[in-house]
């Protein structure tokens, strides 16, 4: 049974169609990738699924519950934004404690465990502004995990990072996957998608233009690399 089920989901803002009737489903424990160039509607789709944006039409169910109808559904979702979203003037621990407290969690052990999970135990009392880019990304992911969500949305988690740090993030995602978390990730790094995702959907101008496992897509378009598949699809759609 899919934990995420999207049917004809659409979003129109100022008469512009940002998301155009997308449909897909994600199974529990799966890592699902949404691919697309910038402005293809990936983040808007994420925002709708996370309950941060009201869809113009269509439906989406997460864990069998309709989005936007049940605020408590958010407690099962971890949302990692593309940009760092924590307080740079607080320490790593203070950030984690604050977000945990907002979710009703005050257990110090949980924070300690999380610090180990995001590999920032030694930096717990360092101001967030002093962290390196990779550390900031880990803290950003950590802040989304304080409440132990079952489904995690990662919006371009490695954008702007060097290859070493990017792989650190991949490792974190793999560890979450091992914990049976369902992960939906957006990216335009094809090797990242190929490495992490069991299935992908390619978006262009708000629409899903292709979907399947990376292997299926490569086979379908008779191309060896996902990058080539993506370039082919973009070319086909007129970009």
């Amino acid at each position: 049974m899919p934990v995420v089920e999207v049917k004809s989901l659409a979003k129109v803002i100022d008469e512009s169609i940002i998301v155009d009737r997308v449909s897909f489903s994600v199974q529990e424990g799966e890592i699902f990738g949404l691919l697309g160039s910038n402005g293809s509607g990936k983040t808007t789709t994420f925002n709708m699924l996370a309950g941060l944006l009201k869809p113009s039409s269509g439906t989406a169910k997460i864990l069998g519950k309709k989005i936007g109808k049940d605020a408590e559904l958010k407690r099962d979702i971890g949302f990692v934004t593309q940009q760092d979203s924590f307080y740079e003037t607080l320490t790593v621990r203070e950030n984690l404690e604050f977000f945990a407290s907002q979710c009703g969690i005050t257990n110090k052990e949980t924070i300690k465990k999380l610090l180990g999970q995001i590999k920032l135990s030694t930096k717990a009392d360092v101001l967030a502004s002093s962290l390196s880019g990779g550390m900031k990304k880990r803290l950003n992911i950590g802040c989304s995990l304080v409440h132990g969500p079952r489904i995690i949305f990662l919006d371009e988690p490695t954008v702007g990072l060097d290859p070493v740090v990017r792989k650190e993030i991949w490792k974190m995602v793999e560890e979450l996957h091992k914990e049976k978390k369902t992960i939906i990730i957006t990216s335009h790094y094809m090797e990242e998608v190929e490495y992490l995702c069991s299935r992908v959907a390619v978006m262009f101008a708000g629409r899903i233009v292709a979907s399947g496992t990376p292997a299926q897509l490569k086979k379908k378009y008779k191309l060896k690399q996902m990058e080539d598949v993506f370039a082919h699809l973009m070319k086909r759609e007129g970009r």
């Binding site: 408590e72 979702i77 949302f79 934004t81 977000f99």
Partner: protein, 642 residues
């Protein structure tokens, strides 16, 4: 060229930030329009001012009428200074005018008087404006009062002048009469000098001697026998008379018997004659008849004799009766004489006694008269002396009346000189005494409420707005929106934390004031905490609303300034709101900063009751909280923020 591109980039950044651009465009236009219309003419109008003291007298009426007409003040009358000052402390009055109880009397006496004005010396601009406006009105009132007073005084002086003229005439008449009196006194003095008291005294001595002589003669007369002899004579006469009466009685009795016999004889003779005539007539004998005739004749002759005798007897009886009557009368006279003599004797004794007494009285009177003469002598001496004194006094009075006349002339000249002057030019009788209502440790005491107000205004505006903008620009708002209730919780937390920070700021301002500038500690620290908390909540709420709509920190700062600077002008920070035009005063009441400054002023300076301002701020906060709640609800989608 590089600098050109750099400048272009800076400008484009601003142009592309619509909020910042609109603020940058609106700010100078708004500030210029606002400042131009608000401060084009700084004057006070309809300032609430309390009036204490007599208000229904002529001169206080002039003053209050002038104050009313000035339109600078909206006068409110109070029965007591304490009640007025309570309203003053609570911010309902800007000044209190105290008219002294003897205001009318002092002015009527021409002594001038002083109207006390209690001003809010914590607001220098307002204080100066009130003093200037009040001074101007009081000067005008003073002129009006002077005009009224001097006109009245001129009338009085003219009347006095007329009275003085009459008095001068009367004095001249009096002088003339005094001169006459003086001359009369001189005559009196001469007359007194001519009185011969010695002669009067001698005549009195002579009179006394004559009276003593009279007394001796009276004693001699008293002892004379004249009355005794007369009495004896009258007694003898009375006895003789009694004998005569008895004799006359006997004679009368005898004559009566004789007359009775004669009468009987006569009757017998008539009867005999009648009987003889009857016989004669019956007798025919002539002889007999002749004899009878003869007899009748003889009897008739006898009868006639007897009749004559009877008549004589009767005359004698009548004469005796008359004699008897005369004797009785005489006896009565004698008895009367005797009685009179007896009375006279008794009267004589009384007369003698009275005369004697009268002489004694006269003697005594003469003695008294002697004494009186002696007193008269000394009296005359005194009169002479008094007359001389009166004369010299009159001389002095005459001399003084000459002085009075010259004084009156001088007075008249002065009155004419004064009444010819214009009342407008005469000095003002009314002055203003300005009394500072509030004492202070230093002037910083008065600045403290403003410092606290400014500090809270900008710290709350900026902290709240920038804090919320940061949530947006750093995407933490996404995370908050993902957690049910976290965003509303965060907004509330911002309000509370900024309020706590504001309390800390106020404490720091207070400590610096206390330690560095020696300001007075707040009389009611609890109320300071409450006032600060409510103020911070309101300002932070406004700051949050700014933060909801500003996209960048720069826009938040600009918007904060756009709202904050007019509040500075209207919030009793730089300018007293009372000095601004009417519409800005209404606007001021609608903006929270004036209430915040008032609360700090009441708590730190006037020690009044800030309830009204607190109520206004709480109303604000209720509205703002409702507004924030609506915004949080309406803007729950992420695209409103990022």
């Amino acid at each position: 060229m590089r600098i050109f591109h750099a400048v272009k980039k800076e400008l484009l950044e601003i142009v592309h930030d619509r909020t910042l651009l609109s603020v940058l465009l609106a700010f100078p236009i708004f500030i210029m329009l606002f400042m131009g219309s608000s401060f084009g003419s700084i004057e006070i109008r309809g300032l609430p001012v309390g009036v204490v003291g007599p208000t229904n007298t002529t001169f206080s009426g002039v003053l209050l009428s002038d104050l009313n007409e000035s339109s600078a003040f909206n006068l409110r009358h109070y029965g007591s200074e304490d009640i007025a000052l309570e309203d003053f402390r609570n911010g309902q009055l800007r000044a209190v005018i105290v008219i002294p109880e003897d205001f009318e009397q002092s002015l009527k006496r021409g002594e001038g008087t002083e109207v006390r004005i209690k001003v809010d010396n914590s607001d220098i601009a307002l204080q100066e404006a009130i003093i200037a406006a009040m001074g101007s009105v009081v000067q005008a009132s003073s002129t009006n009062i002077t005009r009224s007073y001097v006109s009245s005084a001129w009338d009085d002086l003219s009347e006095l002048n007329s009275s003085a003229s009459q008095l001068a005439g009367q004095i001249n008449e009096s002088r003339a009469r005094m001169k006459e009196t003086k001359e009369g006194l001189s005559g009196l003095k001469r007359n007194i000098s001519s009185i011969d008291i010695e002669r009067l005294d001698n005549s009195l001595t002579g009179a006394t001697a004559q009276i003593n002589g009279l007394k001796q003669q009276l004693a001699v007369q008293r002892n004379s026998t004249f009355t005794n002899d007369t009495g004896l004579f009258l007694e003898n006469a009375s006895l003789a008379l009694n004998e005569s009466i008895a004799t006359v009685g006997d004679t009368h009795e005898k004559l009566s018997s004789q007359a009775q016999g004669l009468n009987q004889t006569l009757t017998t003779l008539e009867m005999s004659i009648t009987a003889l005539e009857v016989l004669k007539n019956e007798t025919s004998d002539n002889t007999t008849a002749a004899a009878l005739d003869a007899n009748i004749g003889a009897l008739t002759a006898l009868k006639n004799n007897t009749g004559a005798q009877l008549a004589d007897s009767r005359e004698q009886i009548t004469a005796l009766e008359e004699l008897n009557t005369t004797l009785y009368d005489f006896k009565a006279v004698l008895n009367s004489y005797a009685l009179t003599l007896s009375d006279a004797k008794e009267g004589q004794e009384e007369l003698y006694s009275e005369l004697d007494s009268a002489l004694d009285v006269m003697n005594a009177s003469l003695g008294t008269a002697h004494e009186d003469v002696r007193q008269l002598r000394s009296l005359l001496s005194a009169v002479q002396e008094t007359t001389e004194n009166i004369g010299s006094t009159l001389d002095q009075v005459l001399a003084q009346t000459e002085d009075v006349n010259s004084l009156i002339s001088s007075l008249q000249e002065t009155v004419e000189a004064q009444t010819s002057k214009d009342p407008e030019t005469i000095a003002s009788p009314l002055s203003v005494k300005v009394e500072n209502q509030y004492t202070r440790g230093s002037f910083v005491d008065f600045i403290m409420p403003r410092v606290m107000g400014v500090s809270l205004l900008f710290s709350c505006f900026l902290l709240a707005s920038i804090s919320l903008v940061k949530e947006k620009t750093r995407y933490t708002i996404v995370r908050l929106l993902m957690i049910p209730g976290a965003f509303a919780n965060s907004v509330a937390a911002k309000l509370i934390s900024i309020t706590l920070i504001s309390l800390g700021q106020v404490v720091m301002i207070l400590l610096v004031g206390l330690l560095v500038f020696g300001v007075r500690p707040p009389p009611d620290p609890g109320m300071l905490v409450v006032g600060t908390a409510v103020s911070a909540l309101v300002l932070s709420a406004i700051g949050l609303l700014i933060g909801f709509y500003a996209r960048t920190e720069s826009a938040a700062i600009q918007t904060s300034l756009l709202l904050g600077i007019p509040m500075l002008f209207l919030g009793n920070i730089i300018f007293s709101p009372d000095l601004l035009p009417g519409y800005t005063q209404i606007l001021q009441q609608l903006l929270p900063l004036a209430h915040i400054t008032n609360i700090f002023k009441v708590v730190l300076i006037t020690n009044g009751d800030p309830a009204a301002d607190l109520a206004a701020l709480l109303s604000y906060f209720a509205l703002l909280a409702l507004g924030i709640a609506l915004v949080v609800y309406k803007k729950r989608s992420i695209n409103n923020y990022v």
